[in-house]
Symmetry: C2
Amino acid sequence: MSTIVMNSPQSPMWRSPVTAADRLLLEIQRTIVEGEIESGSKISEPELARKFNVSRAPLREALARLERCHLIERIPNAGARVVKLSTEGLLALYQIREELEGLACRLAAENMDDAEIQQVQELLNQHLDTQRVREGESYYQEAGDLDFHYRVILGSKNPYLINMLCDELYFLVRMYRVQLGMNGPRVSRAFDEHKAIINAIANRDGELADLLMRRHIAASRVNIELKLQQLGK
Amino acid sequence: MSTIVMNSPQSPMWRSPVTAADRLLLEIQRTIVEGEIESGSKISEPELARKFNVSRAPLREALARLERCHLIERIPNAGARVVKLSTEGLLALYQIREELEGLACRLAAENMDDAEIQQVQELLNQHLDTQRVREGESYYQEAGDLDFHYRVILGSKNPYLINMLCDELYFLVRMYRVQLGMNGPRVSRAFDEHKAIINAIANRDGELADLLMRRHIAASRVNIELKLQQLGK
DNA sequence: CGGCTCTTGATTGTCGACAATATTTCAGAT
DNA sequence: ATCTGAAATATTGTCGACAATCAAGAGCCG
């Protein structure tokens, strides 16, 4: 029912006792994804610690997790840098996404129960309404798309797969999309593709769902690749 | 030439200034994989810190990385436990392995240069010799198998893929194999399968290499599954 | 006697200071 | 003027102590 972006079990988002490191992680993740800290810039531990009014201990914990989701790169005794976006990086990232989300579809077709599937279908219609009401506002499309993918991934019921996609890869995916201003034109087409995928899952046709998801992601990749090139020039 | 188990770039193994947390990580990884710390048992930070004569700071850094490769599970304010092996876990793990290593083969067929491929082929022959000389000694088979898979994965040239497989998944794979005593019977058959895979890569037939690798991993999974069941009874 | 609450004990999370390492600066020589 | 080398500076890695939180057991009440 809600449009909340769900996360996997070990994400800090819904852990009961939210620790300082958890808050820091969420905050810095947002900061990096939205581009408030420039891509490629160096991260100073003392500076960030002062900025967020915490000690370096929880900050370093947060940095460790940021490295885990590929948003920063650390070199021992030298420091951390925000990851730099590139065409090669995008390609490498989406190669994995295609493969893993395809697998997720196949597993979801086996493991999602009817109620969950129906829930996703209703969700899609909701998103369509919201999006029609607020044409042009990209955030809702972003959130809607993420929500759909999260549901399918969770539907796979494979903990490792869920962890890899939701916790390790998706923040980077969002970073590409947000920083390259991915919003407008693909909205309605993406909706149709989502619909086709969940229908295939509803028909328990994992193979088809796999194929459709791979194409869906490939289309998204081409879209971003284009933007990246035209911005590069 | 060497039979050294290579690791991906961000593994501590070959970082020039080896920090205390790096040493701890390697040591504890080994300890868990070999089963010296019982599967499912709780981990006490003060106790481990005393045992290794270090402060809790680098230890916690190491624990964070252990969580990353799924060898321990942490609950905030409650502590960490060594992961428990199970049939479901094995299945979930190998589902991903099949998919990702299949992808690795396809990419390796595109991206490995002839010299690298030849190197792997020579390596295989070396392993065969070593293994014939020391029949029954499982360690060499373990190491040889790992070495082969590592080479192919590195051959994909996809940093995310390399990181996921070598740094996040493979320690758990090794834990299953070591703790269930996987060594003897599949040795020579595995060698043939390895040979077929690298040949397909040499012929730049990524699709075939993909298929063969999936079967190879599936066979390995069935093998372990059997052992797991017969030990479970 | 069983179940609940509170206290006690231990563990984890956080802090500030110190040690080890990398980066920058500046003087001197070619 | 450029390069080399060493001192100075800043950053990261590690340490020990304190605060916050959780688990276990004693005591009380129904």
